[in-house]
């Protein structure tokens, strides 16, 4: 319990950014929804279109809506220039505001449409202009219903904002996603408690305002609104850089990206530690989707990222063949430089390849040592993969090269995939070869005699705006060729194991220590 308390207490900055993000999103939602509702009250067509659109948005899963704003903003750079951020606050704000739109809009439209007709006739009969009628009659009478919509929107937004972590915006989703990746349930619980607590507080405050409007007690309205504003202001103040803070040392901040698995978290922390020694200030963008992470380096939202040659070869360049390890690496270096000026600093020294893994028991029972052995028995087996796997060209490639037809395929988050294999829910999984659990659980990675799976050398990418920075290059060169797969597996396992789990930064320190840095 004690560690849970500590974990919740350690979430100050995440809580503050979460509060500001949600407040900004709900505010934008209100600013769009209210004029739209007034317009809709005067035109049935507008009402239909606006409500239809808002309902449609609501059917898009929040995670997908957030991710969709990356390409949208990337395209918008054609209009607003290269300075437009495509990750972090801006897309999270816009997506969540869209999400907040529906409850506010629907309540406001319903309240205006169902307004007592006698009051409208009286307002017209007395000689109110349209604006006077809105201000003196419709707005005050609709206020409790609109407030109820704002209340619902706030609670939804606070919940959905945890997903902003996936597009690089700090939020209470940080501990949830990091905890899910590393099976650190204390972290997951801490994030959930914090966001649920925040939602309850927002609900209570806006409930007070709503009651104040409904029962015409301005004191309720004012105190609820003031308390909410005070909370938002406190969040803003806590995030401000005060003069005298030692943070600012004149150098541009380096943003280090990490995809959503333990190895990425560890390597990002290791890179961060080396850069901080050189006087850089660093920020982390964790739990990014694979494609989002690479795009973010191209657009320089993220400045340093560890990526894998096979992933870039198939997913970014869109190639299918396997030219061999060296040739692939050279081609990628050229392609990255030509594509967006991204610099490939070098290979870290280990590979994190996709491999098909089975338990020792399964290997013995079916006599499996290579993927070719699988073809005959695949129809009796269940294959498990991470959410990306079955869409990836590597899977298509290996499936077609060996003619694999599995009885069933199931999707797991990377962490649970190993559990599924060991508990027998899946017979074969798309394992990562640098994963510490392969050795510990005595898993068999099947050989690939036809070379269907490309190599996956871990490489360091540097965004164009830092590509010519000698100090940064020098700091990171120390890692090139320095990490062998055994060391990486041990670091990964320290974070992934069930007992005595280490946080990523501790594993990173151990890793640097181990390789003499």
């Amino acid at each position: 319990m004690n560690s849970l308390f500590d974990a919740v207490m350690g979430l100050g900055p995440q809580l503050a950014e979460h509060v500001l993000l949600c407040a900004a999103a709900v505010a934008l939602g209100i600013a769009v929804a209210l004029p739209l509702a007034v317009w809709a009250s005067r035109s049935a067509t507008v009402a239909r279109v606006a409500l239809g659109f808002a309902s449609l948005v609501q059917t898009i899963p929040a995670l997908a809506l957030l991710a969709l704003f990356f390409p949208i903003l990337l395209a918008a750079r054609a209009i607003f220039g290269e300075g437009l951020p495509t990750l972090g606050f801006l897309p999270a704000w816009l997506a969540l505001a869209l999400y907040a739109l529906l409850p506010i809009l629907r309540n406001a439209v319903t309240a205006l449409a169902n307004m007592d007709e006698e009051l409208i006739e009286a307002a017209d009969g007395l000689g109110m202009t349209g604006w006077q009628k809105l201000r003196l009659v419709q707005a005050p009478l609709a206020a409790p219903y609109v407030m109820a919509g704002i209340r619902t929107a706030s609670v939804w937004t606070i919940g959905a904002a945890t997903l902003a972590t996936t597009i690089g915006q700090r939020s209470l989703g940080d501990p949830i996603f990091a905890g899910l990746q590393t099976q650190n349930w204390v972290l997951v619980l801490a994030g959930c408690i914090a966001s649920a607590g925040l939602a309850l507080i927002a609900d209570a405050l806006f409930g007070l305002v709503e009651r104040g409007f409904a029962t015409r007690r301005p004191a309720f309205v004012i105190s609820g609104a003031l308390l909410a504003l005070a909370g938002i202001a406190a969040a803003a103040v806590s995030l401000m850089d005060w003069p005298g803070d030692e943070r600012d040392n004149g150098r541009e901040t380096v943003v280090i990206g990490a995809k959503s698995f333990s190895e990425q978290f560890i390597l990002a922390r290791a890179i961060g530690a080396l850069l901080e020694r050189e006087g850089f200030s660093v920020e982390y963008r964790d739990s990014l989707g694979s494609a989002v992470a690479h795009n973010a380096v191209e657009s320089a939202e993220v400045n340093v990222l560890v990526d894998y040659t096979g992933t870039i070869w198939t997913n970014e360049i869109g190639r299918t063949g396997n030219p061999g390890r060296e040739e692939m690496y050279d081609a990628i270096v050229d392609w990255e430089a030509a594509n967006a000026g991204v610099q490939v600093l070098g290979r870290l020294g280990f590979e994190n390849a996709y491999g098909l893994a089975v338990t020792r028991g399964t290997a013995d029972r079916y006599g499996l040592s290579s993927i070719a052995d699988l073809a005959g028995v695949a129809s009796q087996l269940v294959i498990g993969g991470d959410p990306e796997w079955f869409e990836r060209p590597e899977w298509i490639g290996v499936r077609d090269a060996y003619g694999l037809r599995f009885g069933e395929q199931r999707t797991y988050s990377p962490t649970f995939m190993y559990n599924a294999l060991i508990s027998g829910e899946a017979d074969v999984i798309s394992a990562y070869t640098s994963d510490g659990r392969i050795a510990v659980e005595d898993l068999v990675v099947l050989e690939d005699p036809r070379g269907a799976l490309p190599s996956y050398d871990a490489i360091v990418l540097v965004s164009g705006n830092f590509a010519d920075d000698p100090q940064l290059a020098e700091a990171l060169q120390q890692l090139v060729g320095a990490i062998d797969v055994e060391t990486m597996r041990q670091a990964n396992y320290a974070v992934d194991r069930q007992e005595d789990k280490w946080p990523a930064d501790r594993a990173a320190r151990w890793l640097l220590d181990e390789i003499g840095l």
Binding site: E118, A122, D124, G125, G127, M128, Q132, L141
Partner: protein, 255 residues
Amino acid sequence: MASQGPAFLRFEALGKSWGDIQAVRDVTLDIAKGEFVALVGASGSGKSTLLKCINRLVEATSGRVLLDGEDVLAGPAAPLRRRIGYVFQGIGLFPHMSVGDNIALTPKLEKQRLSDERISELLTLVELDPALASRLPAELSGGQRQRVGVARALAGDSHLLLMDEPFGALDPITRGQLGDRVRALHDELDLTTVMVTHDMAEALLLASRVLVMDAGRIVADETPADLLSGKGGEIAQALVAVPRDQARKLAGLTR
């Protein structure tokens, strides 16, 4: 009593239709200052529509309405309506405003503040306790609310009062008292009043001139005395027959 002074309110070949439905047909009519006109007719005869063409809650499709010689459609609707008192069956007091604020609303729309004394005076005019000014409408009885409705209609110092079934939802006693009070105010304040009602007895007792409508047309235009003496034609006499029969039966009971 036909119009003697210059026409204060004039209808010229007024018509209103909604698609195929002709609610008002070719109404031409003058109303002089100071008249108390009752518009009587069955449901759907077009009397409310005709009334609302005056303050533009309904806009005519043909012909025109002149108020003090000016076409009501000439300017924007809102300032016109502020010059015209309007009382209707729904009352329409705003539930989020006190009685006093409801009464002060029309001047407020013109950025003028109605003094507390004037609010008290208006409440007294409709025979309400001035202390009610600080109450919310929900705390009042139906009769009290409609009295506030009348006070609100008078607050703009308008000389034209339009009433659409003003007493329709009230109990008979309140209805009689408030009718008498409105008639007295009409005389005291030199108002011109047009009242829509389906109750011929009410029209005969309060109005100086009764217009009978049927299918969008005015089929009779008589004084109450003339109507009671048998003038105005079949439709008007059918309407007059109802209260007359009731009166006869009541008289029979007392004998």
